[in-house]
């Protein structure tokens, strides 16, 4: 794993392309997963990821270093996802085949457990309201802290906790309904 150190960040703030390239290399997988779980669509996720990196580079000189570079990227990604879907007046983020009511949620007891776990979770995530999905994905899938989520969303930490509690309860319900 490559280390994003202070020197690299300073170079990035001066729009050094090599430094930026290292940041892209380091975080593209994690960021893609975060975006995908929010929008549940592969093509949209790749577009949003691309725009996120572009905006990050363009605003590199505005990065103050008060948060980690990853938190900065995640905040831009979240805004990109929101903006994109609002502009297009799309309220359902997910691929329609994911949410096909007739489709059986796969059994996870076989060797493809990891892959199927993803499908089952995506199935339940797709049924959550956007604001619930955002905090749940950031905390329980990406592993951001409550403080980081609070910085990204502008909610108080208490607000994040309350929303997360409701999101988890709802996800659990959707997950169980899918099993029946």
């Amino acid at each position: 794993m490559h280390l994003i150190d202070k020197e690299l960040i300073e170079k990035f703030k001066k729009k050094d392309k090599e430094a930026f390239s290292e940041i892209v290399e380091e975080y593209s997988d994690r960021l893609y997963n975060l975006i995908y779980k929010m929008v549940l669509n592969r093509d949209d996720s790749m577009d949003i990821l691309q725009n996120t990196f572009l905006k990050t580079y363009k605003s590199a000189d505005k990065f103050k270093g008060e948060s980690s570079i990853y938190t900065y990227l995640a905040a831009i990604a979240l805004n990109e996802a929101r903006e994109r879907f609002r502009k297009e007046k799309r309220f359902l983020f997910f691929d329609l085949d994911i949410i096909d009511e007739e489709k059986q949620i796969p059994d996870i007891s076989d060797e493809k457990e990891k892959e199927n776990a993803g499908e089952r979770i995506n199935f339940a995530l797709a049924k959550l309201p956007e604001s619930f999905r955002e905090v749940l994905v950031m905390k329980d899938i990406d592993g951001l802290s409550l403080k980081e989520i609070s910085d990204i969303t502008g909610l108080s930490e208490g607000g994040v906790k309350a929303r997360l509690h409701r999101a988890r309860m709802l996800l659990k319900r959707m997950f169980n309904e899918g099993k029946e």
Binding site: K17, S21, V24, E25, S28, D29, Y32, N33, Y36, K37, S45, M46, L49, Q50, F53, L54, Y57, K58, I108, E113, K114, A117, G118, R120, I121, N122, A124, L136, D140, I141, G143, L146, K161, L164, H165, R168, L171, K172, F175, N176
Partner: protein, 80 residues
């Protein structure tokens, strides 16, 4: 009635318990209740199951997709 209220309290604090965000005393009380109450224990286990699946669930880019994204980003930077 007392038991019912206890269940409501435990379920309200389940997320904090899962996140290890509660005081030691509070955790002990919840653990005691979970040992004694099958319904809350089942809720807790189900929550753990779903959160474990969340942690395992990963989407990834292929090498080619990653390369293409990097190229597109740098091409757009050059153009703008």
């Amino acid at each position: 009635m007392k038991e019912k209220n206890e269940c409501i309290d435990v379920l309200k604090n389940l997320c904090g318990y899962v996140d290890n965000d509660l005081s030691g005393k509070c955790c002990e009380e919840i653990e005691k209740h979970l040992r004694e109450c099958e319904s809350c224990r089942s809720e807790f286990e189900n929550m753990e199951e779903v959160l474990n699946l969340c942690r395992k669930s990963r989407e990834s880019l292929t090498k080619e997709e990653k390369k293409r994204i990097m190229e597109n980003v740098f091409n757009r930077i050059e153009k703008e």
